[in-house]
């Protein structure tokens, strides 16, 4: 498991030449090799990482500032365009794709001295909750190899929990950072929609997709968020960030109003998880937080809304994979139509096809109003309920998932059952809210995630709360 120091202290030591970036990269690559059996990593970025490490060490020895993340190795989910390796998004159709430019998130991390050492496994195109939809392999859970790591950022979460690197980055469309963080026992942060640029991230569902970090502490995810956050000319959906940094955290719990989401504590929640979450909440109460029950009656509908909105957006975003401009192209096609059909049918995996088909259906004339418009209207209802709740409380709290990591293969034959694992995470994506999953303890040797949510753009405050809660859970 992870034995890295806090990111801030690693970077301090690299800047003062106490630690060498080259050694850190070696350590990360060594750990990746040693733990190859977990199938967390699709490819390493060895050559480029070593080159960058050398540059950073030279900078430090010349007393130049090597950045706030100087020499810190990290792993990017393989749906981030990055130099030095292929970007596959976990899919056969993008196998061999060499990014012509890098994701803004990676550019910003590199500008502060961080070094991308590998690309992590994911469900192809981030469609899934377990990495079982990866076209290449299934990532194993660091706590039990017969179980899933969660998804879709399962490779990123497993990598961080196994100590391959101090942090990883992922994307969260319906829970893809928080769910694997919960299953693997690390911290996963989904910021407010638009806080971090998505330029250079393979698009899944554009009204929901966000970029965020995974690490072993709130301090670490906050520092990485601070480096990545802010408007970007290359992503017109980015929002203005807070003037103050995200990594200077403290929040007095006394007097904070925290709402317990009633709908998350029904019979579908594993009773052991319920007990554990309740014991964490008792700690908050003892520390002075005002806990009240909050009801969001439309929240149980969030998953149904999600499985209309998401496939609709997926079907249009995956339209670009036509075999002509990039990605797999069927070599024996005689006509353009045949090239489209064969390239897509051979290149896409089952889940991508399933979502494209559902998307085509809910967007087709005759069904558009009944499905798509209806879902977007129920989405409004849910957003209104969140707004109302945040009129009464400062934060919301609940579990990240109704279960711990399930067995590999357990849900693969029933897509709907697999979708239900996201039942507690999709709500905030539909409303664009920030949310974090913290390790909340263990049930039968498996990690359980505690989820905290805040109003849009309250990222700084939420990270502050998370840090305080993290301290309470540990003691």
């Amino acid at each position: 498991m992870s034995d890295w120091q806090a990111i801030r202290s690693i970077a301090d030591d690299v800047r003062s030449s106490k630690l060498k970036a080259t050694d850190l990269v070696e350590k990360a690559l060594g750990a990746i090799k040693e733990q190859a059996a977990y199938d967390a990593i699709i490819t390493t970025v060895e050559e480029r990482a070593k080159l960058r490490a050398k540059e950073i060490d030279e900078k430090s020895s010349n007393h130049q500032d090597a950045g706030r993340l100087a020499g810190v190795p990290f792993i990017a989910k393989d749906n981030f365009l990055a130099f030095g390796a292929e970007t596959t998004a976990g899919s056969n159709i993008l196998k061999g794709f060499n990014a012509p430019y890098q994701a803004t998130a990676i550019e910003r991390l590199e500008a502060e001295g961080a070094i991308c050492v590998a690309k992590a496994n994911l469900d192809a195109f981030a469609h899934g909750s377990s990495t079982e939809n990866s076209d290449f392999m299934v990532t194993k859970n660091p706590h039990d190899k017969t179980r899933v790591a969660g998804g879709s950022s399962g490779g990123s979460a497993a990598a961080v929990s196994l100590g391959m690197t101090p942090f990883a980055i992922g994307s969260d469309t319906g829970g893809s950072i928080r769910l694997p963080a919960s299953f693997c026992g690390c911290v996963g942060y989904k910021p407010t929609y638009g806080l971090i640029s998505r330029s250079g991230v393979v698009a899944m569902a554009s009204s929901l997709d966000v970029v965020g970090p995974l690490a072993m502490s709130v301090d670490d995810v906050a520092l990485v968020t601070d480096v990545m956050a802010g408007q970007d000319n290359l992503d017109s959906t980015t929002i203005e960030r807070d003037k103050m940094s995200y990594d200077d955290l403290s929040l007095e719990l006394k007097g904070q109003k925290v709402g317990l989401i009633k709908e998350y504590f029904d019979d579908s929640l594993d009773p052991m998880i319920k007990q554990l979450i309740q014991s964490n909440i008792d700690k908050l109460t003892k520390a002075g937080a005002e806990i009240t029950d909050v009801s969001l009656p439309s929240l149980p509908l969030a998953l149904a809304v999600y499985y209309i909105v998401c496939p609709a957006e997926v079907s249009s975003n995956l339209g670009r994979y036509d075999g002509q401009r990039f990605g797999y192209s069927y070599p024996d096609a005689r006509t353009l139509e045949e090239s489209y059909l064969q390239s897509r049918s051979i290149g896409f995996g089952k889940e991508a096809k399933r979502r494209i088909m559902v998307g085509s259906y809910v967007l087709s004339s005759g069904y558009y109003d009944a499905y798509y418009v209806k879902a977007q209207t129920v989405r409004t209802k849910l957003i209104n309920e969140f707004n109302e709740a945040f009129g009464r409380v400062d934060f919301l709290i609940g579990p990240t998932a109704p279960m711990t990591a399930f067995k590999i293969g357990e849900n693969v034959d029933d897509p709907l059952k697999m979708y239900l694992t996201d039942i507690m995470t999709v709500g905030v994506n539909l409303a664009g809210l920030p949310a974090i999953s913290l390790p909340g303890g263990m049930v039968d040797g498996l990690p359980v995630g505690l989820q905290l949510m805040a109003p849009q753009r309250a990222d700084r405050k939420l990270l502050g709360l998370a840090k305080t809660v993290e301290g309470l859970i540990k003691c």
């Binding site: 009204s207 401009r325 045949e338 059909l341 209806k374």
Partner: protein, 97 residues
């Protein structure tokens, strides 16, 4: 209740530019019907007076100066993933039989 037939699935595949195998047709007919039955719970929700949400941050018309920004990439960089290039153009198969 949605009940998509084999023909409906084939039509959807055609709209999606996918050509399905026999086993995919069978499997997707069941799966997609299950998914649609699940999402149909929304039909009963009272949404009178509400407008659909298509974006969540309220941003309006993000503009920037109409100026070329040089990111330093050559056309060759940007074309390097294209399966079939001729004279800096993307070459595709014929459209008409």
């Amino acid at each position: 209740m949605a009940k998509l037939t084999r023909e409906d699935i084939l039509k959807l595949a055609q709209l999606s530019k996918l050509s399905l195998t026999e086993s995919e047709i069978t499997e997707f007919t069941t799966d997609i019907n299950n998914i649609l039955n699940y999402v149909e719970q929304l039909q009963k929700v009272d949404t009178k007076g509400l407008v659909p949400t298509s974006q969540v941050t309220g941003l309006v018309n993000s503009t920037r100066p109409d100026k070329i920004i040089d990111y330093g990439y050559s056309p060759a960089d940007l074309l390097k993933n294209v399966p079939n290039v001729q004279e800096q153009q993307i070459k595709v198969k014929r459209i008409l039989e």
